[in-house]
Structures are given as C-alpha cells and as structure tokens.
C-alpha cells in the first residue's frame, strides 16, 4: 500500500508508548491518508484509544506516559518543541468514547472551540454553529432549543453534538473513538452517514468494535493486537483477503 507523500495526513513512525512501565503500544508505523476514513480495530485493551490519543497529544495529560517515535502531521513533527499543543488540538479534533457535552447550552457547546480564538468573528458565530449542527445532522432536532442545556439531549443527540462541537473549529483531522458504541441502530446509521459526508473534507480515524461498521464506513483498516499493529491495508483487503492469520481470526469473529 504505497501512497504519494502529499496524500498522507498523519505519518506514524516507530511509535511506542508505555504507561509507567507497562507498554501499551509497540513500534507502530502507519500512514493515515488524507480525506479518507481509516478504521482502527482490535480486541478490547489492545491500545486503539491510546493510539488515537497520541495523534492530538491527549496522552500528555497523563503523567506516567512515556512516548518514543515520531508522529508527523502534514510532515511536521507534532512532538516538536515549537508546536503549540492547543494549536495542534485545534487541527486534530477528537470525539471521545463517551459523549461529554459541557453543562452549557447547546449553542455554547458548539461555539466553545470558536470562542477560544478570534479566528471566527462574533457576527459569524451563529452561522458557524448552524453549519456545524447541520453537518452533524442535529440541526433539525435542536434548532428550536439552542439555548437549552445540552445535558437534556438524548445519548445519540449528545454524541452528534460533540461531533458538531469538534467540526465547528474545522480541524483537518477528526479522531472518533467508538462514536457509536452507546447508540441505537438509527442513531448509529445517522452517524455513519455523517462520516461518509465528512470525509470529503476531513481526514478521519475511527475506532470501532463493530466489524460491519468498519467495513461500511472505512477506506483503510488497521488491526491492532496487544499494542502491536498487526496489519494495515485497504478495508476490502483486510476483510476479504487478510495477509495475517490473526487478522483473519479477528475479523471472522473467532476471537476478540
């Protein structure tokens, strides 16, 4: 699987990570292509969340973490001393495993990232919020109660709200950690449609336990196992003709 450099968004080279002395990722090397959906699959505890949290340096918050290796975002080393972490996180948006709306109004939640910088003038805030909510397929459900607290939304709506919140700042990469794990089939479908739509503008990395989902939404799939990247390839190849036995066992549901 060779890609021209200009099509690579995130370039991970020899990345290893350990929590205190416990290794969680070992020698991961992979290239995440631009404006494609890359799925991360693997059994629980294999390091999927840990890996995508490396992409926006969320693991910096945990004191015990030590990282070696390189991650490049558009050819720039994200661990470089000159990198402003807040700036990086504005470029690499993230949606967490569990929805975490702020105890503020729906509007304020979406505008939160925008208000942090002066990039979007106040007058455009409202239209940007509307755009983000529309992109996240939530607008029709909440347009009459933008001032209400976000905690009053259902779980699925909250998940779409945090997606809207993440895309409102227009990052170039969007990291989704099991965005549909707690949702009913209809909400899941909505989010999958949303991903298909978003991929025209964003690079998306999505963690999922649902093989069908991975097969449906992603262009590329990475299979992780016990902190190692076992296989990374076209989704079609992974699901129909994997090179590794472990991958085959996993995707066919033999373990995991």
């Amino acid at each position: 699987m060779e890609l021209p450099d200009s099509d690579i968004s995130l370039n991970v080279v020899n990345l290893s990570l350990s929590y205190a002395d416990k290794p969680a990722l070992q020698n991961i090397t992979m290239k995440i292509p631009k404006q494609r959906v890359t799925a991360l699959i693997g059994p629980s505890g294999c390091g999927k969340s840990t890996l995508i949290r490396c992409f926006n340096r969320m693991n910096d918050l945990i004191d015990s973490v030590s990282v070696t290796g390189r991650i490049e975002l558009n050819k720039l080393d994200i661990h470089d001393k000159n990198v402003d972490v807040a700036q990086l996180r504005r470029q690499v948006g993230m949606v967490f495993q569990r929805p975490n709306p702020f105890p503020k109004s729906i509007e304020e939640n979406v505008a939160y990232g925008l208000r942090l910088t002066k990039e979007v003038p106040k007058s455009e805030l409202e239209s940007r919020v509307e755009w983000a909510l529309k992109s996240a397929a939530l607008w029709d459900e909440v347009k009459d109660r933008l001032k209400d607290t976000a905690l009053g939304l259902s779980g699925g709506q909250q998940q779409r709200l945090v997606i809207a919140r993440a895309i409102a700042v227009q990052p170039s990469v969007l990291l989704l950690d099991e965005p549909a794990s707690a949702l009913d089939p209809i909400s899941t479908l909505k989010i999958e449609e949303l991903i298909a739509e978003l991929k025209t503008q964003y690079t998306i990395a999505i963690v999922t336990h649902n093989m069908q989902q991975a097969a449906r939404v992603s262009d590329f799939t990475a299979f992780l196992y016990l902190g190692e990247l076992i296989e990374f390839n076209n989704t079609r190849t992974i699901f129909t003709n994997p090179r590794q036995e472990k991958t085959e066992d996993y995707v066919s549901g033999r373990y995991g």
Binding site: R89, R90, N100
Partner: protein, 566 residues
C-alpha cells in the same frame, strides 16, 4: 455462627431471646434508631434554644401593663408601680428559711414577682422582688404613663401638670397636649442631632484633613500655609454658625416640662427633651399595643445605643457585624479559591503538597483567640504599622492603620476561615469529571481556559459551600475580634458620607461582643437581661439569613450542574 435453621430444635426461651436480639442488631435497625434519636434530640435542642431566646428577647418589647400594687410585710406597707418583669415559684422550705416569722403563708409553693419599678432617679433599685401572697390590692390605673427617658431608664407616673417656661399650662386634655409637645421636642432633637452628625462632624473631619495636609507639607520642608489657613478659618466660621444654631435649638428644647406623681405619692419633674417615647399601656387596645410593639422592635434595630449600651438600639453593632462578615467573605473567597486551584490543579501532587494540605486542615482547628493574637501582631502592628510609616506620616504619632480596625478584623477572620474554603473548593475541583476537562482541551483550550470556562463554573457550588461554612463560623466569632477591631462603643459607623465613604481603618461594634458587654459588663443586670436575649436572637437570625442566602444560591448553581457531575 448460629444459623436460624437450628432454632426450632433448641427451643430454650433464653436462647431464642438472645438470638432474636442479635438478629435485630445484625439487621442494622438499632443503628437507624440511634441516628434517628440523635437527629431528633438535635432538632429539639436547636428549636428549643431558638424558641427560648426568641421568647425571652421578644417579650421585652411588648408594652406590658403597669400595675399599682399595695402590699405589706411584717414591718411596713408599700405602694409599688411597675411592670411584672419576671415570675417564679420557690419552694416553701426555702422561703421559710429566710422568712421564719411569716405567718400568712398560704399552702403550696410561694410565688414571687420581680417588678420593674423604674424611676431610678428617685427610688434606687428599679427592680424589686415581691411575694404575691403579701399583695393587698392590685389595680391598673388607666392614666398611668410610661416614660422612656434618654437617661435614667423608664419613669412611671400619672400626669399632674404641664409647664412651659416654668408656667403651668391650662389645657383640658393633658395627655394629647403632652404628646404633641413631646413630638415637638423630639423633632427639635432630631434636627440638632442631624446638624451635629452631618455638618459639625463633617467640618471636624475636614479640619483634621487640613491639619494632616499642613503636617505633610511641613515634613517635606514646605512651610507655606496661607491657603490652608484661609480654608481653616472659613471652616471655623462655618462651624461657629452651626454652633450658634445648635445653641438656639437647645434653648427651645428646654422650654417644656411635665410634672408626674410617682408611686410614693411625691411629684417628680421630667424635662420633655429627655423623653424618647411615652405610652399608657393600661388604656391601650391590643391593636395599638401591637403597633407599639412593632415600632419598639424597629427602633431597637435602627437606633444607636444609649447609656453604655444598656438602652436604646443596636444598629451600630448590627451594621458592623454584617459589614465585617461581607468584607470577610470578599477577602476569603478569592484567596481560598486561588489557593485551592493551585494546590489541586497546578502543584505537583507530592509530599510537599500533602504536607501543605495537612497544615491547612489543621489550621481550622487552631483556637480562634490565637488568630486574634496573630492578627494583632502581624496585621495591625506589622502591616498596619508599615502602612502608617509609608503613607500616613503626617498623622503620626496617632496611628491610622496601625491600630485595630475593620480591615484587620475582616482579614483575621478571613485567615481563620480560609481552610474551610480551600478544603471545600478542592473537593469540588476533584469532583469535576476528567472527561469534561479532556473535552475542553481537545478543542484547543489551554489549561487555564479549561479551568475558567468549564472547571470553575462547575466547582462554584462547592466554593459557595465553603463560603457558607466560613460565614457561619465568622459571624459567631467574638474572641479574636476583641483584639483586632471591635469596641464597646464606636464613635461613628465605618460607612458615612465623608470621602472615601468606607473607612476600613475605623473600629466597629459587633453583636457578639455587644452581648458580652451588655450582659456581663453592665451594672444593672435585671434591666439588660432581655436585651441580651434580643441581641442573641438577632445574631442567630443574621447567621441564619446569611447562610440561607448562600445555600439558596448554591442550590440553584448545583441544580444546573447536577447531571454533568454524575
């Protein structure tokens, strides 16, 4: 362990009993009962205490009937006029021990009344115990008047005549005429007081500032005083004008007198200028008594104290207490919150931080008088003294800030209560789910932005809880205040119309200290006892109101964030 299955096999009564008790204990019921009892006892104690204080304090303001009582003892016969201030029964044996020769004693215990007879100027002890069975007659003269005087306490008597400049006035309705003239006197007195407070005090204040200005120039080697002198003489001229009008008012005030007949039949003269209030309780309807009651309580709350705090109102103490608590909250909240945020969010969680936390917790247990001593040494003498050296050179040797005052009292109490604010803020901060912090950081917020926009708003109920606890502790604290700013009688309120309006350097009065002073430092214990209760009630009410306000505020905030915290 016995199992219940075996019970039917061994049906011994003893055993069954002990097992069922054990089972009862194991079920946890006894503990529920125990805690319920403890809660019940506490509630009864609190309600009982407040009821007792309220009853004793509030009854004092009711315009009680004035009885004219004829009674005798083995030596003589007396006539007493007064209110019944207290009733009690003592045992027969005790009574007979002290009155062995009393032969008229009826069966049962002996009832005694404490009569408030007033007229302190004439008959020295104005409270007297009498034995009820020795009373021969008791009537309520509808014409009996109670005079509340600005000095010497109450007077009781019937009106004999009114005098204007020494001449008897011939009018039919003496009562209405007297009331009208008392009205005139009190409005004159008001004018005079206003003049005194507003104009003369202000001129004095300005003169003092002129003096300081001159002194300041001298210190700088500038002996040019001409402009100051002209200002000064202008002020003195103005002062003399005011003094003149004060003297005129004073003369007018001396015009009227009333002659009353008191209990022993003699006549006594009261200057109308000395009368604060007057009423005829024996001929008042319930409604007018109630009106009088309300206005007396209002006066108690809004007027200055008189006669070394034993009479009049408690306004300065009330004002001082509330102002001090508010200032304390304003000082303690930012300080405690910042400290907690640093400890919890920024400091590296190591041994040092743990030690600091232990130290903070222990601070809450230091006896409050120790804080008073610290406040006096550190705040008043060191910081206050330095401020005086740097900025108030001219006022020396009189200290400005280097002496106990409002700001130092507030600071001392802020120090005393800062541990509770720190502890509860820290608790609030730890309760914020990390998912929300991560959510904010992932959107590109810095740590500080996350703190201000997400964490702190959500921790605000916890901060308020800390402030509530701080207020509850500070409002009732007296001991340290005696060292750092509270006085028995403050010449002026800490807020007035003179620039800079809020005078942080002034000494102030405080309800807690007022209770101590009135209750234990005044010579006439019987007269002030109800005031002690009334003041205590007020202090409790203030604490309750301050607490309730903060609790309501906190609950509203908490409701907003409850779901997010779960």
């Amino acid at each position: 362990m016995e199992t219940y299955d075996r019970l039917p096999i061994e049906p011994g009564l003893q055993r069954k009993h002990s097992v069922s008790i054990r089972r009862w204990f194991r079920s946890g019921d006894p503990w529920i009962w125990l805690s319920a009892t403890a809660v019940g006892v506490s509630i009864v104690a609190v309600v009982g205490l407040i009821t007792l204080i309220a009853w004793k304090g509030l009854a004092h303001f009711w315009p009680a009937d004035v009885h004219t009582i004829e009674y005798h003892d083995e030596w003589d016969e007396y006539v007493l006029v007064g209110e019944i201030a207290q009733r009690e029964s003592i045992s027969r044996d005790l009574y007979q021990e002290f009155n062995p020769s009393d032969t008229e004693l009826p069966p049962g215990s002996v009832r005694r009344w404490m009569m408030k007879t007033g007229n302190r100027k004439v008959n020295a002890p104005d409270f007297r115990w009498i034995d009820v069975h020795l009373i021969e007659s008791k009537i309520q003269d509808p014409n009996m008047v109670v005079f509340e005087r600005s000095e010497w306490g109450n007077a009781y008597g019937t009106i004999v005549e009114l005098r204007e400049s020494g001449q008897t006035i011939a009018v039919d309705d003496l009562w209405s005429e007297l009331k009208r003239r008392v009205q005139r006197a009190s409005s004159l007195r008001n004018t005079s007081e206003k003049l005194q407070k507003r104009s003369i005090d202000q001129i004095n204040y300005q003169l003092e500032r002129l003096r300081l200005q001159q002194r300041k120039r001298e210190l700088r080697g500038n002996f040019e005083t001409a402009d100051l002198n002209t200002k000064q003489s202008e002020l003195i001229q103005e002062y003399e004008l005011h003094e003149q009008s004060l003297r005129e008012i004073d003369e007018k005030l001396q015009r009227d007198q009333v002659v009353i007949r008191i209990a022993n039949g003699s006549e006594s003269i009261i200057e109308l200028r000395d009368i604060e209030h007057l009423w005829r309780p024996n001929s008042m309807s319930f409604l007018s008594k109630f009106g009088h009651y309300v206005s007396t309580i209002w006066n108690f709350l809004t007027q200055d104290s008189r006669e070394a705090n034993t009479e009049g109102g408690i306004f300065p103490a009330l004002f001082g207490t509330i102002l001090m608590v508010i200032l304390m909250s304003v000082l303690v909240t930012p300080f405690g919150v910042i400290a907690a945020v640093y400890l919890r969010e920024y400091a590296r969680q190591g041994t040092l931080v743990r030690l600091i936390r232990i130290a903070v917790n222990n601070l809450a247990g230091v006896p409050s008088i120790v804080y008073g001593v610290f406040g006096l040494g550190f705040f008043v003498y060191l910081i206050g003294g330095t401020i005086d050296d740097l900025f108030f050179e001219a006022a020396k040797p009189a200290p400005t800030f280097g002496t106990p005052g409002l700001i130092w009292a507030s600071l001392t109490l802020a120090l005393l209560t800062v541990p509770v604010v720190i502890v509860s803020t820290e608790e609030g901060l730890t309760r914020i789910p990390s998912a929300l912090r991560e959510g904010s950081l992932a959107l590109g917020a810095t740590k500080a932005e996350t703190l201000f926009k997400v964490v702190m708003p959500m921790a605000s109920p916890a901060m308020l809880t800390g402030v509530i606890l701080a207020i509850a502790r500070a409002a009732g604290e007296v001991a340290p205040l005696m060292l750092v700013g509270v006085v028995k009688l403050a010449p002026s309120l800490p807020i007035d119309g003179n620039f800079p309006f809020l005078h942080l350097d002034r000494k102030f009065m405080h309800l807690g200290f007022h209770i101590y002073d009135v209750g234990f430092q005044s010579p006439n214990v019987d007269a002030v006892r109800p005031l002690v209760f009334a003041t205590a009630l007020l202090l409790i009410l203030i604490i309750i109101v301050l607490n309730l306000t903060a609790i309501l505020l906190r609950n509203r905030l908490e409701a907003r964030y409850r779901e997010a915290l779960q």
